[in-house]
Amino acid sequence: MNQHDNHLPSRKRSARLSLALMGAGAFTLTGCGQPEEVTDVRFDSPRSYQSVEECVEANVYTQSACEESYEASIKEVPRFDSLEACEAEHGEGACVAPTEEQAQAATGGGGGGGGWFMPALMGYMVGNMMSRTSRGATSQGLYQEPVYRNRQNQGNWNAATNQASQRVNQRQQTMRTSAMQNRQATQRSGFGSRSSARGGWGS
C-alpha cells in the first residue's frame, strides 16, 4: 500500500508542471529533488479507503470517483481458482470468495459470477494520477476528481449525457419554428461591445 510514497517531505507546491502550447515548443520543468524519469508523474498522494462509503465520507473525492476507483481496483485484484492457490500466494486466512457485488464489478457485470477467490481487499487507492503523453501530462481516466466536493443540494451535472430539460426543449422547439419562418444569416458582435476601464475584464 505504501508503494506510492515518494519519500519526499510534503510540500505546498506542485512537483512538476508543463506547458503544451505556450512558448516555443513544449516546456517541462521538474522541481529540484524530483526523479528525472518522465513517465507516471504523480501530484497528489493517493489516499486509501476500505470502502466506497468511507471514501465518500472523507469528503475528498466525489462519489463517482470513489465508485469508479473501487470498481477499478476490484478488476485489478488477482483471481484464483481455489482458496488454496490464493492462500499459497497471499498467506493463510488472507483470501476470500468475492461477494456477489464484487464478482459483478470484477467481471464488468458481464456474467461469470463467482467460483473464484481473491485476497481480501484491504482498501483501495484514489488519487490524482497523471501520465505523460506526447501532448503533455494527461489525467488517467479514473483518478482525477480530487478538486470538487460533493454537495447534497446539487445534481451531478453532466452535459454529455443529460438531456436538456423539458422546458428548454419546448422553448427551443418554438425558436426552431419561428426560425424556419424567418431564416436569417448568422449575426455576430452581440457580445463584447462593452468597454471596461482599461480595455480588459480580468480582475
Binding site: 507546491r13 478538486v147 449575426q187
Partner: protein, 388 residues
C-alpha cells in the same frame, strides 16, 4: 510575512518571452517584479490563508444556494430577472465552476481579512500558476533562496484536474475559450487555460467574444465556421454579458457557460454585505452594508465600492485618520456597498495584497500584488512568494 530583496534571475526576460509571458512589462512599467519576494511561514500559509479560504469558499457556496432560492436576494444583487432561472438551473444541476480568487488584507499577524471576491473573471493566473512556480524552482537552483524554500502553489495542477473533470462531462470533450480582442494580457491568460485544457485531454478552440454568433434555428451560439459552441469559457463578466444584445439569448440557448451562470451571484460586491449579514463577526470578514440612496459622504474608516467594478476602479476609501484615496473609473451606474476600512500591511513604501486562489473547491495557491497606493489596481506589480 516579510518582504525580502533578492537578486533577479539573469535571463528571466528571455524566459518570459519564451514562455508566452509578454505582459511582464505593461506600457513601459514593470508588472512582474522579482527584485523582491514575500516570505511566509508554513503556519501562516496553512492557518491564516489556506484554511480560511476553504472556509470562506464553503460559506460562499452556502450563500449561493440561499440566493438561488430567493428572488428578493437576486433583486438585492441587481441581477436581471431574465437570468434568474439560468442561474438557479446551473446551480441546481451542479454545473462545476473552474476557479476564483479571494483578495485578503493580511500582515502575517492576526486573521486575514477578505476585501473582495474575484469569482467570475479572475486574472493574474498565469503569473501565479506557472511563472511564479518557475521562479521558485530556478531561484533555488541558482542559490538565490534556500533549498528548503517552498511555495503555496498547486494552482495549475488543480486546474488540470478541474478541466479533466469538466471535459469528461462535456459532449465532444470540447470547451471553447474566449476573450475580447486587442488585450494581450487577457489573451495570454486564456491561452494559458487552453494550454492546461489540452494537457487535460480536451479540445480547446479559441474564439473572440465579439465573434460569437447566433444563427436562427441553432440551439447553441455558433463559432466562426457556424458550428455550435456547446461549452464556452468566457473571460468576460456576467453582468456585462447579460446587458448586451445577445444577453437575452443566454437562457434560451443550450450553450454551457464557464464560469457557470451561478457565478453571477459571487461576482458582485453586494455579496460582501450578504456575507456579513449571514456570518456577522466572522474573523475573516469585514463589516459591510448596502449603501442607502440618501447616504452621506464617506466617513473615516470606511471604503465605498460599486457592485460591479474591476481592478480597483471607482473604489474610494477614507482611512481612520481621514486620509482620502480613490481610483477613477467608469463603473458609476450600479449600486454601492460600504465596507469597513482595514489597512493593508506596508513593507517600505509598498502595500501588499494577498490573492488566494480557489480551483474547484480547493484553496491551492497565492499571488501577491503590491502598490504604493492603498488600492490595488491593474498596474500593481506581481511579486513572487516563498515559504521558508
Amino acid at each position: 510575512m516579510l518582504r525580502v530583496e533578492i537578486k533577479e534571475r539573469a535571463q528571466w526576460k528571455a524566459l518570459a518571452q519564451e514562455l508566452g509571458f509578454h505582459f511582464h512589462t505593461i506600457d513601459g512599467e514593470p508588472y512582474w517584479k522579482e527584485s523582491a519576494y514575500y516570505q511566509f511561514t508554513l503556519e501562516q500559509v496553512e492557518r491564516d490563508i489556506e484554511a480560511p479560504t476553504e472556509e470562506l469558499h464553503e460559506m460562499c457556496m452556502a450563500l449561493v444556494d440561499k440566493v438561488c432560492h430567493s428572488n428578493a436576494l437576486m433583486q438585492r444583487l441587481s441581477i436581471p430577472e431574465f437570468m434568474w432561472d439560468a442561474i438557479f438551473d446551473s446551480w441546481r444541476a451542479g454545473q462545476p465552476h473552474l476557479y476564483g480568487r479571494m483578495d485578503f488584507a493580511y500582515s502575517g499577524d492576526g486573521p486575514a481579512k477578505l476585501l473582495e471576491l474575484n469569482y467570475d473573471t479572475p486574472t493574474s493566473l498565469y503569473e501565479a500558476g506557472i511563472f511564479q512556480w518557475v521562479w521558485l524552482e530556478q531561484a533555488i537552483e541558482q542559490g538565490l533562496i534556500p533549498r528548503h524554500a517552498d511555495q503555496f502553489n498547486s494552482i495549475q495542477e488543480k486546474l488540470l484536474g478541474a478541466l479533466a473533470h469538466i471535459g469528461q462531462r462535456l459532449s465532444d470533450n470540447t470547451l471553447h475559450f474566449s476573450c475580447i480582442k486587442d488585450n494581450v494580457e487577457e489573451r495570454a491568460t486564456v491561452h494559458y487555460l487552453q494550454d492546461i485544457a489540452v494537457q487535460a485531454g480536451l479540445e480547446a478552440p479559441f474564439i473572440h467574444t465579439e465573434d460569437i454568433g447566433v444563427q436562427p434555428g441553432c440551439d447553441y451560439f455558433v463559432d466562426l465556421s457556424e458550428a455550435p459552441i456547446k461549452a464556452l469559457f468566457k473571460l468576460y463578466p456576467w453582468e456585462e454579458l447579460a446587458q448586451e444584445e445577445f444577453g437575452k439569448l443566454i437562457p434560451e440557448l443550450s450553450t454551457h457557460w464557464f464560469e457557470p451562470p451561478w457565478k453571477a451571484v459571487l461576482s458582485n460586491k453586494g455579496i460582501l454585505p450578504l456575507l456579513w449579514e449571514e456570518y456577522p463577526d466572522h474573523p475573516n470578514l469585514l463589516p459591510a452594508y448596502f449603501e442607502k440612496p440618501d447616504e452621506k459622504a464617506l466617513t473615516p474608516g470606511w471604503v465605498r465600492k460599486p457592485f460591479f467594478s474591476r481592478e480597483g476602479s471607482n473604489v474610494q476609501l477614507k482611512t481612520n485618520d481621514g486620509d482620502f484615496e480613490d481610483v477613477a473609473g467608469p463603473y458609476v451606474d450600479s449600486p454601492w456597498i460600504r465596507q469597513a476600512y482595514h489597512p493593508m500591511p506596508r513593507f517600505g513604501q509598498f502595500h501588499a495584497l494577498v490573492g488566494s486562489w480557489v480551483v474547484g473547491d480547493r484553496a491551492c495557491g497565492m499571488g501577491i500584488r503590491e502598490d504604493v497606493g492603498r488600492i490595488t489596481k491593474d498596474s500593481s506589480c506581481f511579486v513572487p512568494h516563498a515559504i521558508i
